[in-house]
């Protein structure tokens, strides 16, 4: 069960949510929550503008898969990615596919740019000589071919890798069925 919890924690942190209550016992002692002071009453700023706002406490617990589904929904909404991947390409010319792909590319690129800041793991141009220093992290640098002896190693940078340095994913409201990544559309007459 710890594996499931670990995944849940991963996605919750990734999408800016609070950790699930079961995770608390894994926190270091000095980070354990104390008895919380009663929450400060938030001033409802819209009071002047709208007559009544129904403030409801979110009821359903957020499932960790919601984060992954929400990202897919974003890629579909902005870039129609799911439509594109689900459509058989047989019978379409490269030009037809290209025309659509351009828009899909633009939309999905926008999602990446708005929500994730990325940089290469290894600076430097690809296809040039690089040094793999002593004490490198094999999760960051994947060696291809035989590594003889101890680092530093010398080799050719084939792919500079990608690292997400900042995630700015949307905050997700509770109580929404995230499995609907694109709603059906009905145009009323």
């Amino acid at each position: 069960m710890r594996l499931v919890l670990a995944f849940a924690c991963f996605f919750r942190i990734l999408f800016g949510k609070k950790l699930p209550p079961e995770a608390v016992k894994f926190l270091p002692d000095d980070q354990q929550p104390k008895a919380l002071p009663p929450p400060k009453e938030k001033v409802v700023v819209e009071k002047v503008v709208v007559e009544k706002i129904v403030v409801e406490k979110p009821k359903t617990a957020q499932h960790h898969r919601d984060g992954a589904l929400a990202l897919l929904a974003l890629l579909q909404r902005e870039g129609r990615l799911v439509d594109f991947l689900r459509e058989p390409l047989d019978g379409f010319s490269d030009a037809d596919i290209g025309a659509a792909a351009r828009d899909v590319h633009r939309g999905c690129k926008k999602v990446l740019e708005q929500h994730l800041v990325m940089e290469p793991v290894m600076p430097g141009a690809e296809e040039t000589k690089v040094n793999v220093p002593k004490g490198f992290d094999p999760a960051e640098i994947r060696l291809v071919g035989e590594a003889k002896g101890e680092p530093p190693f010398s080799g050719t940078l084939r792919h500079h890798g990608w690292r997400v340095t900042e995630t700015k994913l949307p905050a997700l409201a509770d109580g929404i069925d995230r499995t609907v990544i694109a709603p059906a559309e009905v145009e009323l007459a």
Binding site: V45, E46, V48, I53, E56, D96, A99, A100, A171, A173
Partner: protein, 595 residues
């Protein structure tokens, strides 16, 4: 030390910048609903308000980190989802705020053609199906954008609530006193009790000053005149700032502002999409048309930018899940874009060109008074001729999303040089989308004594209409004289008293005065009397006041003197002061629709 919040309450996008925290003015990202049940930060808040029914968007999809489910949404999701629900979408609230053709405090938005609010609410039965749903006033819509900006700030800065900081809100230089007053009312409704107004072109200039630091003194010299050319999504706004030498230091004065011109980038995108659609030769449904307009906007930005390609493909993706099969392909060529956008909206014209004005026809569809002449350069030539009488600016500062296009900047500079017969330099400003908010934040610092201030005062001279006494002639209204109550350039915080005149108000009755403005009558001092039909005078909504009886008898005639006061906020107040010293009454701007 409190901070300064500069708020650009824009026609299509709003932005917030902050200063006074030891760093240079910087923009603040705004948390907003970006999709159903999704909130994220964006650099600006699209000025759109969506008022959906539960069937269209459930309240659970509209929650902000600081709220429960809402019945409305502003910002990105309002704009995007609103395109599919145009009957529930409020857009361009700011243009409605300055439209005297409607009652600006009545619930008329989303605007539905010629339907009046009264007719809508009184229609029962099946008609109600068509026209149900909430409607708001232009003031209330603006208030909701401001309330959102305030709530987003407060959520991120719990210890420094926005209401306790110095708040500056920008308005078009062309906003009349009523629209300024209504902007302040919207701010108050949003919980900003104390705000200061700043004209947008001035804010853009402050952003330039902030970005250049002291180096601006090398850019400009006494005698120079800077044109601020601000073309946004929906409006054109021109201002002139003169540089002079005052005791050895450079001083800045805003000497003229243009008219309110409803013409901007949205018109261009529509125009371009019209050509593409004609070439397609097939009908498009409203959603496809919207996709086409967006595609054309992107094409415009590429084709008018640096190193434009020969053509830009525009595709309208299939609406169903069959994406590739349903895609419509089109293309916008550079020639077509340049012919339509550069030569159509920025044609080469002479300095003597005049913008075509719409003749007043008997019946006009109720709605926004869009500019009749699409040529921005003609409006510009017209403005310069009226304001400078033959002189030409020496520098230009661009602002607004449209002016990001290198080709359009180049065309304006080319014309300014041709008109002046000499070089006209471009001042490098800040980010054209955020400059107004940044400049407003910087101005807040200037007000605290850190930096040079642009003097300006009232953009126009204001007049009260006075009926002249003459024998009645059937069929002729008695001629109206205009009495100058506030000369052009009246500074914030100053008051002018009019010399005693034979003016009187009747106790217990509503006294209504016709109200006029003039942009280019610098020589009229307060108390000057001119003919109301003099060229250059524009009539605004009237001002009025019901004088309560108190210790006087109803029907009594009270001799009064007029007083004009420009508040620190930046609004104009007109007062009637009883000559016997017993009582003073503030005249209210009438927001009712003008006949």
């Amino acid at each position: 030390m409190t901070k300064v919040l500069g708020i650009d309450l824009g026609t299509t996008n709003s932005a917030v910048a902050v200063a006074g925290d030891g760093e240079p003015a910087h923009a603040v990202p705004i948390t907003q609903v970006t999709g159903p049940g999704e909130t994220a930060e964006r650099p600006t808040l699209p000025s759109f308000l969506l008022l959906p029914t539960d069937h269209e968007v459930p309240g659970s999809a509209l929650q902000l980190p600081w709220s429960g489910p809402l019945k409305y949404v502003v910002g990105t999701y309002a704009r995007d989802r609103g395109a599919e629900l145009p009957h529930r979408l409020v857009s361009s609230a700011k243009s409605w705020l300055s439209n005297s053709g409607i009652d600006r405090t009545a619930q008329v938005l989303p605007f539905r053609g010629a339907q009046r609010a009264s007719e809508v609410s009184s229609a029962p039965g099946e008609a109600a199906l068509e026209i149900d749903g909430e409607r708001v006033s232009p003031v209330n819509a603006s208030a909701r954008y401001l309330a959102h900006l305030r709530a987003a700030w407060d959520f991120a800065n719990e210890d420094e609530p926005a209401g306790e900081q110095d708040v500056l809100i920008t308005v078009p230089a062309s906003f009349d006193p009523v629209a300024r007053e209504l902007t302040v009312a919207a701010a108050r409704e949003a919980g900003f009790d104390k705000v200061t107004l700043l004209e947008e072109p001035q804010a853009a200039f402050y952003a330039y000053l902030a970005a250049r630091g002291d180096a601006w003194r090398n850019d400009l010299a006494p005698g120079d005149i800077v044109l601020v050319c601000d073309v946004g999504g929906g409006t054109c706004d021109f201002s002139l700032i003169a540089i002079s030498d005052e005791g050895g230091t450079l001083s800045l004065e805003r000497i003229a502002v243009g008219d309110h011109i409803l013409l901007g980038g949205d018109n261009m995108d529509l125009a371009l999409s019209a050509i593409v659609q004609r070439d397609l030769g097939r009908p498009l449904d409203p959603m496809q048309q919207r996709a086409l307009v967006q595609g054309c906007r992107r094409a415009k930005e590429q084709l008018l930018g640096d190193q434009p390609p020969k053509s830009v493909p525009v595709s309208i993706l299939g609406r169903g899940s069959k994406l590739i099969g349903g895609t419509i392909k089109a293309e916008v060529t550079r020639e077509a874009a340049e012919a339509m956008l550069v030569d159509g909206f920025f044609p080469k014209v002479e300095a003597t060109a005049r913008a075509e004005r719409r003749k007043s026809v008997g019946l006009r569809e109720l709605g926004l008074p869009y500019a009749h002449d699409p040529a921005i350069t003609r409006h510009l030539a017209d403005f310069l001729a009226r304001s400078l009488g033959g002189k030409q600016p020496t520098h230009v500062l661009f602002n607004g999303g449209v002016m990001k296009a290198a080709k359009l900047q180049a065309r304006v500079v080319e014309l300014l040089r041709a008109w002046a017969g000499r070089d006209v330099k471009v001042l490098a400003g800040a980010d054209l989308d955020l400059a107004v908010a940044l400049g407003a934040a910087h101005y807040g610092e200037v007000r605290r004594g850190k930096g040079v201030r642009i003097r300006g005062g009232t953009a126009r001279a204001y007049y009260i209409g006075i009926e002249t006494a003459m024998p009645a002639i059937p069929g002729f209204a008695p001629p109206v004289k205009a009495l100058c109550v506030a000369p052009q350039g009246l500074e914030e915080g100053s008051t002018v008293e009019l010399p005693d005149d034979e003016l009187a108000v009747v106790v217990g009755e509503v006294s209504e005065f016709r109200f006029f403005a003039a942009a280019n009558r610098k020589d009229d001092k307060s108390g000057a009397l001119v003919d109301a039909d003099t060229d250059g005078l524009t009539e605004l909504s009237p001002v009025e006041k019901q004088i309560e009886a108190e210790d006087r008898k109803t029907g009594d005639l009270v001799p009064v003197r007029l007083e004009a006061h420009v508040t620190e906020v930046g609004t104009l107040e007109l007062w009637c002061v009883a000559r016997d010293g017993h009582g003073r009454w503030k005249l209210e701007y009438s927001v009712r629709e003008r006949e």
